[in-house]
């Protein structure tokens, strides 16, 4: 077995607000191997983005990583000083955001921004840096990269901007890229182009990829492994085929049923009742209890992470019987 690029162990990230402590990430553990794509799936407020920010060390006060280890190739990111983190960010880990304008500075030309990102981490001449910037743009499928380097972000369309943001993430050949809903705002044809490039990238360069999204169907086509998050915890984890074909957690099952799909046109979707609980004052026990049809008195306690089948992890007292899956 190859050593994973990233191993997250028992990560807890809490926000200490005036109203109380928000436990945005609770006891989250997972790992990603080189060249593999991990899908981190959850709805708004499930803690999937905060998990990404925690790895990047981008959680701002009142939030804080309160416990856990984040090992990148053996180095614990939690133990690093902010100075050390700066040299890791952008060089060994890069992040792609949903809105590319979070990455891009609107008043600087693309070449200025890209050259700066390279020279922040490696001492190369501007000429060399510029060549690398051009190659990165070409790599993400931008035609005429030489001319595009001279453009400003507003001169690009949304899809092109996202490609530039991806190119910037690639500049220093990071070991790990965290992508936070990068295609959510894009049209399907553009989304497909970007997914294609990310797939090729992971396969060819050995970069590990964490893909954060609410869209199960994107993960189905893209990822190797999947972690389903609910109310700050990973409730189910396994390979994409295993989780989507035979979900064990009732929440995963409900999510899959909620996706409108071929063959059930016009029929009511099997919906999950209710809505995600507030993380500010979570009820005791399993957070999904209130919305779950299988819940009983045992669910008053928080279910521990179990390994029902090799390669799977689950947090549930009453997993779905495998036969119930159509």
């Amino acid at each position: 077995m190859t050593e994973p690029t990233l191993r997250v162990e028992n990560l807890h990230t809490h926000f200490f607000t005036r109203q109380g402590v928000v436990k945005a990430v609770e006891d989250v553990s997972f790992s990603v191997a080189p060249g593999k794509i991990l899908g981190l799936v959850g709805e708004s407020g499930s803690g999937k983005s905060v998990t990404g920010y925690s790895i990047m060390g981008l959680v701002d006060p009142p939030g804080r990583r309160v416990a856990g280890r984040i090992l990148l190739g053996g180095d614990d990111l939690c133990a690093m000083t902010s100075e050390q983190m700066r040299s890791v960010r952008g060089r060994r880990i890069a992040m792609i955001f949903q809105d590319p304008m979070m990455t891009l500075n609107p008043v600087l030309r693309i070449d200025t921004q890209m050259i700066e990102a390279i020279r922040a981490h490696t001492s190369v001449s501007r000429v060399v840096a510029r060549e690398r910037a051009r190659d990165a743009l070409a790599q993400v499928g931008i035609s005429a990269p030489e001319e595009r380097l001279l453009a400003y972000p507003h001169q690009f369309s949304g899809g092109m901007r996202q490609r530039v943001a991806i190119a910037i993430a690639l500049l220093n050949k990071p070991e790990l890229i965290i992508a936070d809903e990068p295609t959510t705002a894009l049209d399907v044809t553009i989304q497909a182009q970007i997914l294609f490039e990310m797939q090729t990238l992971a396969r060819d360069s050995g970069t590990a990829l964490i893909w954060i999204t609410h869209d199960l169907s994107v993960i189905a086509g893209l990822a190797d492994e999947i972690c389903v998050m609910y109310a700050g915890r990973i409730v189910e984890q396994g390979t994409v085929d295993a989780v989507l074909d035979a979900p064990l957690h009732p929440y995963t099952h409900g999510l899959i049923d909620s996706v409108p799909s071929r063959g059930r046109r016009g029929e009511p979707l099997r919906q999950i009742p209710g809505m995600a609980p507030s993380l500010l004052d979570p009820a005791q026990g399993c957070a999904f209890r209130e919305r779950c049809s299988r819940a009983d008195s045992a669910c008053i306690d928080q279910p521990a992470l179990s390994i029902p089948i090799a390669g799977r992890q689950l947090r549930c007292f009453h997993p779905m019987p495998s036969a119930a899956i159509a």
């Binding site: 709805e43 399907v188 609410h214 899959i256």
Partner: protein, 337 residues
């Protein structure tokens, strides 16, 4: 099919052009011989759309294809530059003023961004109850009770009536938007990306709600979405738009089983699906061109894998290629199936 009653709402040959007029400086420059020109966007270009009572028509396309503009034309929020709007077979602009007002009430719109479409300073009881009072459907003192009923229809509790929009979750705000539209007893709802901003589990709840309301109130929908999965789930007929034109339309089962237009094919191929694992995404190339300067001939030809010389010159017309299945593509002339 000739015995069909007049469609509930029909758009005949409607176009919407947005023109950016020249400012004073540009006019002056033009006088002095500069080549300043007015910029025109044909957001919607000669579209025919007829919706029968009780039908759900889905409208899909990528951003910038004009689907929202068409929705606003249908709802009467925009006036068409060319073309006519008919309600039950009668041209709306020729109706007397009171009848026109009634038609306006019968067609309501539900917007994508419930934050932007609900007044943040109004309480839900006023958001939902104001319009029926203004239009004399109920008395002012009945407003509270009426709003309670409307909220019940969309699955919200009466205890929420005194709240402001920001106190709701996204799914609840979507429901308030629906309740507001229902309050004036519409027959026709234009839903513009009404579920796009919602989480999957909430989206399923709201889609189910739309279907229940359709049964309960005999509603007709024009359902605008970029999400093929959603449109396939709710619609009876699907219209596909590209750069202001309808390029294919057919009953839902037909369009998904026997897709005709290369653009629709590409669009369908690239929709991520739960059952498509580790698929290699092979994208159609390029992006939707600027509507300011659309390509000649078939708008899709620069991206089309099956482009022919003719596509660069002639604009293909929408033609019936199978019963009720219309498509605008020259390939259908080349090889009649």
């Amino acid at each position: 099919m000739s015995t069909l009653p007049a469609p509930l709402l029909e758009l005949r040959g409607v176009s919407k052009r947005f023109v950016r007029a020249l400012d004073t400086a540009a006019k002056l420059a033009k006088l002095l011989g500069a080549s300043a020109k007015e910029e025109t966007v044909r957001a919607v270009d000669a579209v025919d759309l007829a919706v029968q009572a009780g039908e759900v028509v889905g409208l899909v396309g990528e951003s910038g294809c004009g689907k929202s503009t068409l929705g606003r034309l249908a709802a009467g929020l925009l006036a068409p530059s060319v073309g006519t709007r008919l309600w039950r077979g009668e041209e709306i602009v020729l109706l007397p003023a009171t009848a026109q007002r009634d038609v306006r009430l019968k067609i309501q719109m539900i917007f994508q961004d419930s934050y932007a479409s609900l007044n943040p300073r109004m309480r839900v009881t006023d958001i939902v109850g104001e319009a029926p009072v203004v239009h004399g459907m109920i008395k002012q003192r009945e407003q509270h009770e009426y709003a309670t009923q409307m909220l019940a229809h969309v699955g919200l509790d009466a205890s929420l009536l005194e709240r402001f929009p920001h106190q709701f979750s996204g799914g609840q705000r979507a429901r308030v938007g629906i309740a507001r539209a229902l309050a004036v007893k519409p027959e026709f709802l234009v839903c513009d990306e009404a579920v796009a901003a919602l989480d999957v589990s909430i989206q399923a709840q709201v889609l189910n709600l739309f279907m229940q309301l359709r049964e309960k109130f005999d509603l007709t929908y024009l359902f605008i979405s970029h999400d093929m999965g959603v449109v396939q789930h709710v619609s009876d007929r699907v219209f596909v738009m590209y750069l202001g034109r309808v390029i294919e339309n057919a009953p839902t089962a037909e369009i998904f089983a026997r897709t005709n237009h290369p653009y629709t094919k590409a669009l369908l191929a690239e929709v991520p699906r739960l059952d498509a694992r580790k698929k290699s995404f092979v994208a159609i190339q390029g992006e939707i061109p600027s509507p300011l300067d659309p390509p000649h001939g078939c708008h899709f030809h620069p991206r089309c894998p099956q482009v022919m010389p003719r596509c660069r010159i002639d604009q293909p017309v929408l033609r019936e290629i199978a019963p009720l299945h219309f498509s605008a593509c020259h390939l259908n002339d080349a090889a009649p199936s």
